[in-house]
Symmetry: C2
Subunit: 424 residues, 2 copies
């Protein structure tokens, strides 16, 4: 069964809208074991629509078409489909009555333009839309069923879940179950991970994919069919034994999400003191609802004066060692922890660039400390200096990983592939 998607609309093609419907659709179908094999995005020109409907109807078994069902003159999906099939548009009386009823219930007179939404190609099967004025419809052309859906995201999603998926399952055999596992990694590039894992012999039906979410690479282990799914545990064990500390979370989009859930479970409290990461640690955690249960405070002490006044860093420490040093960052962490006697405090101080580097401490040098009630862990790392954002987001990730490892009772300081470290 070959599934494709056609996205219509000038605003999607021209990038005025990022096409989140498309991503959502592909993801949802994947979870039902159906891969979307091609997606074509076209504007609102009748000629382009007719040609893409015809063209893809020879290649696919089922084509989800999104958009172009509204009442305005640039909504052309129905007309284009009728032309592609060489048939006329006919008023669907059921939908016309539903429309009139809908407007009456909402205390409004139906504008003439909405009548257009009841005009469907002659052979179309009408598809109900309980949440909007655009009905969907399905038409068979050549090899394919073309299934038309509204562009409004919540109407679209409801129609896919409640009508499209049953429509597909009724007509096509869906091959086997699928399963997906995801691992978040830190400190290795995509190519180095791929090289490292190449030695694993994957059973048939299983694939490894990589996805970059700066500063992480996510590894996706995908299995199709019972046999492959049965091998997932064995392959996961191999991946874990090869990658070791590079895997920092399972099925999470960021380390912040992992820290959030570990901190909530731990019942302990956290303060952070940030220099180069400048609010990233705080902001990433506070993006999760419920972070107030553990997050005491975040102090972005960007200036030296602020490190002294707010965190109690000694002026001599700054003079002797500089702001970007193990000594300073340890005092920052201990100071931040002490103010509210938090269980933990993380601190960062580094040179995010692009300027500000020196020979001894080039751009990408970042000191990070974790203070606990018992003591303080610290390290000074060397990050790739590719961009200010990358230095900041990698520093944030390493800081979170130190806390994660502490919370799990593991060694706090470990090596991450391509991240170097200064001697203490």
């Amino acid at each position: 069964m070959k599934l494709e998607m056609i996205c219509t609309g000038e605003e999607v093609l021209a990038g005025q809208i990022v096409d989140t419907n498309a991503a959502w659709f592909a993801n949802t179908m994947m979870e039902h074991g159906i891969e979307c094999q091609r997606r074509v995005t076209v504007g609102d020109r009748l000629k382009d629509l007719v040609s893409v409907f015809k063209e893809r109807s020879f290649e696919a078994d089922i084509i989800l078409v999104n958009g172009g069902l509204g009442p305005t003159s640039d909504d052309l999906s129905s007309e284009a489909m009728a032309l592609a099939k060489g048939e006329s548009l006919v008023e669907n009386t059921v939908w016309r009555e539903r429309l009139e009823d809908w407007f009456t219930r909402n205390g409004r007179v139906m504008p003439q333009s909405n009548l257009k939404q009841a005009l469907l190609p002659e052979t179309a099967i009408m598809i109900d839309n309980p949440v909007g004025t655009a009905c969907g419809f399905a038409v068979k052309l050549n090899r394919a069923w073309l299934f038309f859906t509204p562009g409004v995201p919540f109407e679209f999603k409801q129609m896919v879940k409640e009508q499209f998926i049953p429509f597909v399952k009724q007509r096509f055999e869906i091959a086997g179950d699928v399963a997906l596992r995801k691992y978040l990694t830190l400190g290795q590039g995509e190519s180095s991970l791929a090289d490292t894992l190449e030695c694993i012999a994957l059973p048939s039906g299983m694939t490894i994919g990589y996805r970059s979410f700066m500063p992480h690479i996510e590894i996706k282990l995908f299995a199709r069919g019972e046999v492959a799914i049965g091998q997932l545990d064995r392959i996961e064990t191999q991946i874990r034994s090869i990658l070791g500390d590079a895997i920092v979370a399972d099925d999470k989009k960021s380390l912040a999400e992992e820290i959030h859930s570990l901190m909530v479970d731990s019942g302990r409290s956290l303060s952070v003191a940030e220099s180069c990461t400048g609010g990233m640690l705080a902001s990433q955690l506070i993006s999760f609802s419920g972070s107030s249960s553990y997050f005491d405070q975040g102090l972005v002490t960007y200036s030296n004066e602020s490190k002294v006044r707010v965190l109690g860093v000694k002026p001599e420490t700054l003079d002797v060692h500089g702001a970007v040093s193990i000594a300073t960052v340890e005092e920052m962490a201990m100071g931040a922890r002490g103010i509210l006697d938090s269980d933990f405090a993380l601190a960062t101080s580094g040179i995010a660039g692009p300027t500000g580097g020196t020979e001894d401490k080039p751009v990408g040098s970042v000191a990070i400390a974790l203070a606990t009630k018992e003591g303080v862990y610290s390290q000074m790392i060397k990050l790739p200096r590719r961009s200010r954002d990358l230095v900041r987001s990698l520093s944030t990730a390493v800081a979170f990983d130190m806390l994660r490892r502490e919370l799990l009772g593991q060694a706090v300081i470990v090596d991450y592939g391509s991240i170097g470290r200064f001697e203490k």
Copy 2:
């Protein structure tokens, strides 16, 4: 000249990634007066890639292909192009040397897999990539030039701007001059802006577009041809007089960017104290290099204790008025300003949701204050409670806009369309 785009990659097709490169590309080309007429998204299957390259090469003049140039086994663009053209892959020695050099400069040994990135179809023109390991390339097939670019967004964007656009302009006549002006707005939705501006009679060749960058809507005024360009000033004046305070910056991606440039120019200093925005104010400013010249400190005082201990908020104020109140946020701003005697301090305290709202102070209630050496401005606003992220980012934007207006000598507190306000 007919331009199309082909996006490759399982993760894009399967919706694991929302394809922001595609939207950015269409937008950027539009700004150069070139419309993208179709976009096809395919996965990493060799057969699919070969067939889409062949198929579109008969229809388009130029095709931008994005993705599939990495070192891993699922990066197949080069191989697919060679197959589509019926030629072999040949090592590009210039790029191979560049790769080796790149790894040497970064103190690493080049993994074997990266060698693949120097293999190009025999007739390809190599396209330099100064910021990554994937070179681009261009191949002529049938009617079209296929121009291959890396998937990593910053590499992709640089290649489009520095190589692709000149490549197109060299080979094709681009019809007429174009000009684009952009205005960042705050506090009105896209449809409300569009309704409000509908009364403006645009001259032929001029269009108004809207783009949502949460929490802002950007208005784009696009003119093609000398006559339309000559009318830009007149139309801009009309837009400004209609929208008034809703326009918060010209040609900037965010208010943080505007504040950064105003603060650098002003020579004054800023501290921030954040509760619900939790590091967003600090983090957005510190993302700009040079922010250390004015940014003193950012204090994310999430807990009440922290507001008292770090900022000197009076416990009675918290008891009587609550953390989300004008009284508290004014003390937060004055406290944050006082620590280092900064010229300005911004403070926020609100209920970002989804939980934590009360009848008096529902989710979306946010108190914001700006302290200066002379006094303090404050307001408590009611934001749409659609998402935690939206509440936080709108609060950040309103806070920045208060500072922006102060820096420009304008009234600090104004009405923004759909943002309500509590009586003081």
